[in-house]
Amino acid sequence: MKAESFEKIVDHALADRQLQVALDRGTTRGVNARLLAMSETTDAQALRHQARLARERALNQLPELLEQLERNIIANGGHVLWARDAAELNQHVLTICRQHNVRRVVKGKSMVTEETALNHALEQEGIDVVESDLGEYIIQLAGETPSHIVFPMLHKTKEATAQLLHDKLGMPLTDQPEAMTRFVRGVMRQKYLQADLGISGVNFAIAETGTIATVENEGNNRLSISAPPVHVAVMGLEKVIATWEDYAVLVQLLARSATGQRMTVYNNLISGPRRPDEPDGPEAFYLIILDNGRSRILASEYAESLACIRCGACLNACPVYQNIGGHAYGWVYPGPIGSIITPLLRGPLTAPKLPYASSLCGACQAACPVEINIPDMLLKLRRDLVQAGDPSLGWRLGMKGWAVAFKSPMLYRLGGRIAGWLTRVLARGKGHLRWLPPPFNGWTAHRDFPAFGTPSFRERYLRRFKGQPHDSKKP
């Protein structure tokens, strides 16, 4: 995580009017689009389960499927490279660039390359990299990082976007997204045609034919992987799936969950480089398969997180994300799923706040097209943090004390009485308190706290059934 504390970053985000407007507009549209699109399927619940099973089957046989994928890609004339970690992936790309005398690279959207900071590695070698996705391009111009898996510039209003394009590229100011888009189209055209190499991510890799599938709307991905003479695709090793039937359900749920579309505009299915008899397309095709901690996750009780298809639905649905945006999560993957995979990929103590940045409301799980039980994993990560000794001594003692009190009916009653009396005194007859001492001042920072009612239910019950308690078990 960055040096600035999570709480500070959150405070900035909450106070950022521009960000709040952008988040509100963006996530509301995203949630509504998904709900509508999922409600128009044959059976949303059954399909989510079907999609989930497709992912589970793939994860159960990962090594076999990866080998099958590799065999088929090689048979189609492509190359397959393996990378244990981020550095190794970047090194592979640099080596390919050297082999093909590459100076200019154009990139389609890829979260994995964000994970490995590939752009930085390329730029250090003097290679020019341009993001071709509209959002990613604007983010790159601004020198920022994506704040959403699917909508990288969700944190920006259209007004801020126009200003940026005006300042950096001299676009005439406008508040029309249409005009801004047309402007960027013009700028990007030449870049595609001049690029020596195109890089793309992978949404699904279909093992049985050695095909990689990307989904997109803009055409930038298709251009990036079709126009330059070399295409490099990078994928996390969990992206492989077994069959085309699995692809059919997953790709459609991905579109409906991510953007509310029935199909994204372009689904590109790439099976190796241009065939000798084909008029266009890249002459060389490389697939790089990245581990970077994923095989470790597969062995853990968090294997489920590898089922994620990066649709971003859980981000839009999350009331925490809706309020703090993606940058507060501190790394490449924001939102509920980010709170899980960031600590898993980078180590639990690198992001100790993230598992706690959730009210466990379950909106993420309900939105997830592959039924990932995010709240459950957040709870397990919290448990891991406790076992690693992360919470402060104060919290640890507090919890110990709480357990001692709450497993003893007598102490529980006594504590309840004291707390009740205290709250009533402090409330001074007003029924509620406006201030509580630390650590409970977090509560009263934003809401009043009630004075406890009296007498307790238990006393009322005993009064009512005096002499004939229904209870068969005396305390």
Binding site: L53, R189, G219, M263, V265, E278, P279
Partner: protein, 221 residues
């Protein structure tokens, strides 16, 4: 050990004792998109293409289709076209039409293709439920024709319309997926290029074609 061996060994070790998801058996497959029983697939296809801001022009016969194509080209002031070979189009006479109109047919590298104002292609299949065109690359079928020019004209006969993506997959399985060995690129196109990157507000016409026109030709009975 190579990265490959390392990774595969790690994965095998992770799965050695138990599969993470026991009981993930192949499920009965259910298609995603609703189609009502007895629904007219042609009408559905047209409606779906329109939904995603494409246009469909229906032609009763080849002559009508050529007229429509001519109107599209002239109304868009097209001077240069990149197109599939006529053998791969469901319509004869397109080349002759271009000659008559004085439109140049461009080939070759990306730079020359990029000058074209229109691309003319056929399609392997069309998916009714989602308004999707399936195009495969191959000899005489450049990828760029459906990608670089601002106007994409797809010529299609009604008999190419099948219900859904799931049906396409089933047909390819029956054909042992030969298309993915022959074609380096199969593209499913649903509408004209768009983005929702700015505040999730949909804008049509980004890096791909700004407009998609499907000329849908009736089959001779």
């Amino acid at each position: 050990m190579s990265a490959r061996e390392d990774i595969l060994t790690g994965l095998r070790a992770a799965l050695a004792h138990s599969k993470p998801f026991p009981g993930a058996e192949p499920a009965a497959f259910q298609a995603v998109t609703r189609i009502d029983p007895g629904e007219d697939l042609v009408a559905r296809f047209i409606a779906e293409v329109q939904r995603v801001k494409g246009e469909v022009h229906t032609a009763a016969n080849d002559d009508e289709a050529l007229d429509i194509t001519k109107d599209l080209l002239t109304s868009h002031h097209v001077r240069r076209v990149v197109m599939w070979d006529e053998a791969h189009l469901p319509l004869r006479g397109v080349w002759a039409l271009l000659e008559r109109l004085g439109i140049e047919r461009v080939y070759g590298d990306n730079a020359s293709v990029a000058a074209a104002e229109a691309g003319i292609t056929g399609a392997d299949w069309a998916l009714a439920a989602t308004g999707t065109l399936v195009l495969s690359s191959g000899p005489g079928r450049p990828r760029m024709a459906s990608l670089l020019p601002p106007l994409h004209i797809a010529l299609l006969t009604e008999d190419r319309i099948i219900p859904r993506l799931e049906d396409y997959v089933a047909a390819q399985r029956a054909a042992r997926f030969g298309v993915f060995r022959r074609s380096s690129n199969v593209t499913l196109i649903t509408g004209s290029s768009r983005t929702s990157d700015i505040e999730m507000h949909p804008v049509f016409g980004v890096h791909g074609p700004l407009a998609l026109h499907v000329v849908l030709i009736k089959n001779l009975d």
